[in-house]
């Protein structure tokens, strides 16, 4: 029951992200989408990812977006109409991609396999931390370098 509620919430707010006129509203709808996805994580008993999702996505990244949008003061800019045909073609091709993917995937063998809900220890921080700092320690350190370079890049680009 909870699954269906979260699904409808995620899809609905995702649609609102795309179709709302005001960018700030889009951002807020996106945050709601992220919360719904976080709910799914909790439902799957992946608590660590759920927390990270809230902190990183809904917190840091979306706040960044909000800052940028507000800094640019784009509220009143209603972007001039895009080529209608291009818009139409975009919707059509997106929908047909959806149809084709569903058609392609609905008959695969693994379709009816169960997914464990609510229980299972692998999503807990205990297990993930152990693996992250043993098997994945090198990628973890490299990702810190990635962060550093992203930070330097952002500063350099922003200063110009």
């Amino acid at each position: 029951m909870l699954f269906w509620f979260l699904t409808v919430l995620a899809l609905g707010s995702a649609l609102m992200v795309v179709f709302s006129k005001n960018p700030v509203h889009s951002i807020l709808w996106l945050i709601i989408t992220f919360f719904a996805i976080t709910g799914h994580y909790i439902l799957l008993n992946a608590q660590f990812l759920a927390i990270v999702n809230i902190i990183v996505y809904a917190g840091a990244i979306m706040v960044l977006f909000l800052f940028v949008v507000m800094m640019m003061n784009l509220n009143e800019i209603s972007s001039p109409l895009k080529n209608k045909w291009l818009k139409f073609a975009g919707v059509i091709s997106g929908c047909s991609l959806l149809l084709v993917l569903i058609a392609a995937l609905k008959d695969t063998d693994t379709m009816q396999q169960e997914v464990l809900l609510n229980t299972g220890k692998i999503g807990l921080i205990n297990n993930l931390g152990t693996v992250l700092f043993s098997d994945y320690v090198l990628p973890f350190e490299i990702s810190s370098v990635l962060f550093l370079s992203a930070m330097v890049g952002a500063v350099v680009i922003g200063k110009k």
Partner: protein, 630 residues
């Protein structure tokens, strides 16, 4: 002993490499010594081989495998037998004398060109030896092409003169037409006999029927090759133009050796020709026609070398007549005597030209008898020899051919004798105009007249002796001789002799024939000398003589019938097919691509959204193809 045979062509090749590569560094005298020395070495080895063959050691010497594909096996092998050993002696012997002569004749050239000349000459000797020694048609063909190349290089030796290079090109192209026939014949032989080796081909062929169509075809194609190389109708016009080269080259290549390659080839393939009487008839008629045509032209020529050139063409015609009527020995005999006296005549002419400071027009000579005593005497001997007066060599060889022609058909004999009479006439016209009478050149030339140096006169004397006495190796039975040459060559022609059924001519008839031809020649000589020593023809001829002077307008005819239409077609191909067709296609492709890319460029809107849309559509298409089509 016959294993030494590889040395024969090796020496000239070494000489070619040394002179060719070192031409910037070697001094003239060194070049001359190397160039002549290697030929002398070759000659000595040839002599050893000759006596070895005479002792009965003929055979094929295989050096290495040359081409071996599937069933076809072509070894690099040399045929050492009676026929090739005779030719070896002629080539290296006469070749050596001409090399020695050249050291003096070419002395005015600078050392670079001098070495180039000797390198070409050595390369020529090498190629000619390959041609003669090859034990299969392929090796022969390599030599065949080699001599053609050297001929081209040497005719165009003074390459700065445009006419000379044109003459060289003409010679080369004419030869190519003949080579084409030779090559086709070689392919046909492979297809028919599965081998190019003389031994296999001849033994297989001797089992075939008389006048088998394949044999007639092969022999006709080979004969086409021979007409190119040996200057017969219709491909003879290159030889007179080939006189553009230095005179010793004319003597060596265009008189004594290369032009006899066709005769050698047919003599070598005698069994094929004997089995194809149709081809033999063609060979005889072509030979006879060439002999007469060239003789008539020679009567009215005024360039000393041109006269000799047409004389050569005419004599080659006689040799082909001999081959055509089955007198292979006679043809080879005539090749040999002709090599001596024609080389002698050309070298004598070279000596005259040398003395006259490169003046070649006999109308401006005359009375050279006193100034050039040695040249005069030797030239006279050469003239008598070619005219067929006994006991000099030309009489015996020509008479043998004429006798064989008589036994084949009286008409052949009558026309042959007519040609012989004309030969005597024009040779003595040349002799009388050049050496007798009064000097007609400039004073300056008269002042400088001098006998040539020793290096030139000694070869003349040696050749004169050979021209005088070489006939005695082939004295026919009817004159009390034993015809040693025929016995020597018998093994080579044995297969053909078995198939031939010559009618014996009785001795009285033969005496009569000889007497008639000699008497007529003698009359022609006396008439020519008496007429031209006092009052030479100084003006251009008129009437029919003009036709002869212009060589029956054959060159013009070829020009109109072959060259001009070819030029027209080329112009058409160039202007229409090339410009509109090929260029049109090429430019059209360019234009289509240009136009198409200008249209395609509109897709490059620069809009990120459009690109993403295309990307999504493409991904969609890939999914659809992957899932529903495949």
């Amino acid at each position: 002993m016959s294993t030494l045979v590889y040395l024969v062509p090796l020496f000239p090749l070494i000489g070619f490499l040394i002179n060719g590569l070192g031409r910037k560094r070697l001094s003239k005298s060194l070049t001359g010594i190397i160039g002549s020395g290697v030929i002398l070495a070759s000659f000595i080895v040839s002599l050893i081989l000759f006596f070895d063959v005479k002792a009965g050691h003929a055979g094929v010497v295989k050096l290495f495998d040359f081409i071996s594909i599937g069933k076809l096996d072509i070894p690099f092998a040399f045929q050492v037998d009676q026929l090739s050993s005779i030719f070896l002696l002629i080539i290296t012997g006469v070749g050596f004398l001409i090399h020695v002569y050249s050291t003096a004749y070419m002395h005015e050239e600078n050392s670079d060109h001098y070495a180039r000349y000797f390198a070409y000459l050595n390369l020529f000797i090498f190629s000619m030896l390959l041609l003669v020694l090859g034990a299969n048609y392929l090796i022969m063909f390599i030599g065949w092409e080699g001599v053609g190349l050297c001929s081209y290089l040497l005719i165009g030796y003074w390459f700065k003169n445009n006419d000379y290079t044109n003459a060289a090109k003409k010679a080369f192209i004419m030869n190519r037409i003949g080579d084409f026939g030779f090559l086709l014949a070689a392919f046909w032989i492979i297809q028919q006999f599965g081998s190019l080796n003389f031994a296999d081909v001849f033994s297989n062929a001797s089992g075939m029927q008389m006048n088998d169509k394949v044999l007639v075809g092969i022999t006709l194609l080979l004969f086409l090759g021979a007409t190119g190389k040996s200057a017969q109708i219709p491909l003879y016009t290159w030889l007179p133009d080939a006189m553009a080269g230095p005179t010793p080259v004319s003597a060596l290549i265009h008189a004594a050796t290369m032009v006899t390659a066709g005769i050698y080839m047919i003599a070598r393939s005698n069994i094929l020709y004997t089995l194809a009487p149709t081809t033999q008839g063609v060979v005889a008629v072509i030979g006879l026609a060439t002999a007469i045509l060239a003789a008539t032209i020679a009567i009215k020529q005024n360039d000393i070398k041109k006269v000799l050139a047409y004389s050569t063409v005419s004599q080659l015609g006689y040799m082909f007549l001999g081959l055509g009527v089955g007198a292979y020995t006679g043809a080879v005999f005539h090749v040999m005597t002709h090599a001596f006296f024609k080389a002698l005549l050309f070298l004598g002419a070279g000596s005259v030209i040398h003395a006259m400071h490169h003046e070649q027009d006999i109308r401006k000579m005359g009375g050279l008898k006193k100034a050039l005593p040695v040249t005069h005497i030797t030239f006279l001997i050469g003239c008598i020899a070619i005219a067929g007066i006994p006991p000099l060599s030309g009489f015996f060889s020509k008479d043998e051919i004429l006798a064989a022609a008589f036994s084949a058909s009286t008409v052949y004999w009558v026309i042959g004798v007519l040609g012989a009479v004309m030969t005597a006439f024009y040779m003595f016209r040349l002799y009388a105009t050049t050496f007798l009478g009064k000097f007609r050149g400039t004073h300056e030339q008269e002042h400088h007249l001098h006998e040539s140096p020793k290096a030139m006169t000694i070869p003349l004397i040696v050749l004169a002796i050979l021209a005088a006495i070489s006939g005695f190796i082939g004295v026919p039975a009817v004159l009390g001789g034993s015809h040693e040459l025929e016995h020597f060559l018998a093994p080579v022609f044995a297969g053909s002799v078995k198939l031939q059924h010559p009618h014996e001519i009785n001795h009285n008839t033969e005496y009569m024939l000889m007497g008639a031809s000699v008497a007529l020649a003698a009359i022609a000589i006396l008439y020519a000398v008496s007429r031209f020593s006092k009052k030479p023809e100084l003006n251009d001829a008129g009437g029919f003589g003009k036709v002869l002077e212009n060589k029956w307008y054959i060159d013009e005819l070829y020009d109109a019938v072959i060259v001009k239409p070819l030029r027209g077609i080329s112009a058409f191909l160039n202007n229409v097919v090339e410009r509109l067709g090929i260029d049109g296609v090429v430019n059209g492709v360019g234009r289509i691509v240009h136009y198409g890319s200008r249209q395609l460029r509109l897709l490059q809107s620069g809009q990120v959204g459009a690109y993403i849309l295309i990307m999504v559509v493409a991904a969609l298409a890939l999914f659809i193809i992957q899932l529903f089509v495949l």
